[in-house]
Amino acid sequence: MKDIMTGQERIRKAMRREATDRVPWVPFVGVHGGYLLGIAADEYLKNSEAIARGVGKAIELYQPDGIPVVFDLQVEAEALGCKVQWSKDNPPAVISHPLAEGKSPKDLPELDAGSGRIPVCLEATRRLRETYPEHALYGLITGPFTLALHLAGTNIFMQMMEAPNEVNALLEFCHDITCKMAGWYMDAGCDVIAVVDPMTSQIDPASFEQFVFPPVTRLFEMIRNRDRLSSFFVCGYAQQNIPAMCACRPDNISIDENIPLEYVRKVAEKHGISFGGNLKLTSVLSMGTPGEVEIHALETLEEGGDVGFIMAPGCDLVMGTPPENLQAVTRILADPYHREFVKTVRSAKVEEEVPDLTDHWNADKVVIDIITLDSSSCAPCQYMVEAMELAARPYGDKAECNEYSIKTREGLQMMSALGVKNVPVTVMDGEILFVSQIPPARNIEKAIQKKLRDKKLL
């Protein structure tokens, strides 16, 4: 099926809960971009050219509708004087908290577009904007609560209870930083500003409303006034705060596998906003097989529905996530026939017997088996069956065409007996020859003739 919308249009419509031609897909490529280029995380995140190439590579491989430019929640903290420890296969970690060491916010360095690695992020955005004008670029900024924790350390949790005014003042400071970052990313060409605030998963709804709601709501308002889109990401178990997150009025909320998508869908619908997530990062995307990913993506798609849902991993992709696993997600979203195939195979009984095919083969003819979803509802299946029948006709009894629809028990048994993993597929005398694509008539003819010659029938 030909895409009729650009990624940008698809994301914009999905975020407004309008109809789209298919569910949009946003792989949260962070240091995984470095993995695609064979570059370690500590090098990748300091180099705008590498980031642009890594994200570009991910766009080619995964055909997403939207993609983050940089996924690193330490950029602002580092520019404000927090020490970070670099790693080869993860974003850096903050290891010092200046506000816990006696400094006050006014002692921190003034943040501008030239601070720390901010120019790297903005330059990568500009490069990607130029090369990919039709994809939705996500500018990720550290949410005010997580930034406050970076700056002040975990004492902030107790200060919330013991000195709430001080914590509010700190969040006000962090709010100014988030507004600056959002503004720079929008100037550089981002379509969506994603406010990533994972540490809010650690607090209760009353604290969320008291400390996080005011700064974040104003930030989303600012983004809306500039006619850009916003998303609120939270990783971790944050179910208690989902209604409050929606009430901050982002265009979208995105969550991870800790929170049931069904619940988020319900709350987001009630608030009239879109939602995204929550593909399992480690157990499936990183450690699963492409087949497992397909089934998981299909289930996630079924839970998310087709209104206001954006398919995405739960959080930043594990650096070494196998590309074929992410391509499996793309396949489920972009290829309706393949989706139907996976659905049918999934619902089939696993204990299907594999039939003995000894009597199926015949020394006096070539046996052409076409495995289809079923040729009446799947156009490519129909064309493949017709092409085979047409090519076989001149050989009369010497060539036999059989269609096996995987919607039947016999079809499923044949599929497993022949080792077929896709539809439509043509198998000649047990050899898988044509997968998905309808081959030119000449190629089919050649294949039939070769099989006949092998049997000395030609």
């Binding site: 993860n90 107790m158 013991e162 604290s207 208690q240 480690t282 594990v318 650096m319």
Partner: protein, 224 residues
């Protein structure tokens, strides 16, 4: 006596430290865990009773509420702070032998990982539950765990990791501990860790929350 112990438990449960502490707002100006613990000891209540029927009852309640998502990290930290204040009054009795710890628990975030909120929470809950806790901090090497274990035979080891990449380091540490000291109970935890993973790497205890760990430890000790 019962009233004093109940008051201690309530103060720990709700994170009321002392008369001057502003949290929780509805207990403002009232006595806290600090004052009630002192009063209990002055009234001649056995320190072990103060620990088990006062402090531990309060920590148990907050642990259960945390598990049920009724309270979150800030509230648990306030409870732990109240408990630490009360514990200061009890420390001399630990040294004198009037109170004995349930056991020693060596805890740390595995090497390569610099996240400690979860680890700190677990350490606090363990202390409040009568364990002698040795906190090795973050980014802890395998050898440091082994060396500490040498000095504390029979101690339980707890490993924390927040990153999927450092989970692999957890595997390495468990292997080395089991090789050198096969009898050691090793508990693991952290956001990406699962029971599956625990089984795979041969660790003994996994729990998604501190309360589960405390219960599992009690069961293991009982089994011993």
């Amino acid at each position: 006596m019962d009233e004093l112990l109940e008051n201690i438990a309530t103060c720990i449960e709700f994170g009321k430290i002392n008369t001057g502490s502003p949290f929780p707002p509805d207990m403002r100006g009232k006595k806290g865990a600090d004052e009630y613990t002192r009063e209990a000891l002055d009234a001649g209540i056995n320190p072990h009773t103060v620990l088990t029927r006062g402090l531990m009852v309060g920590m148990d309640k907050v642990g259960k509420k945390f598990r049920e998502n009724k309270v979150f990290v800030p509230q648990v930290l306030m409870s732990a702070k109240a408990m630490n204040t009360a514990m200061e009054h009890l420390m001399p009795f630990f040294y004198s032998g009037d109170i004995s710890a349930k056991g020693t628990f060596i805890i740390g975030t595995v090497f390569g990982d610099l996240h400690d909120i979860g680890k700190n929470l677990v350490a606090m809950m363990l202390k409040g539950n009568g364990w002698n806790v040795i906190d090795l901090g973050m980014d802890v090497a395998t050898d440091t765990f082994l060396k500490t274990l040498e000095g504390h035979p029979g101690a339980v080891v707890g490993l924390s990791a927040l990153l999927t990449t450092t989970m692999a380091n957890m595997h390495q540490i468990v292997e080395r501990i089991k090789e050198k000291k096969p009898q050691t109970i090793v508990a693991i935890g952290g956001a990406p860790v699962t029971q599956d993973f625990c089984d795979k790497i041969g660790a003994d205890i996994y729990s998604p929350d501190p309360q589960g760990l405390l219960e599992d430890l009690d069961n293991k000790l009982f089994a011993r």
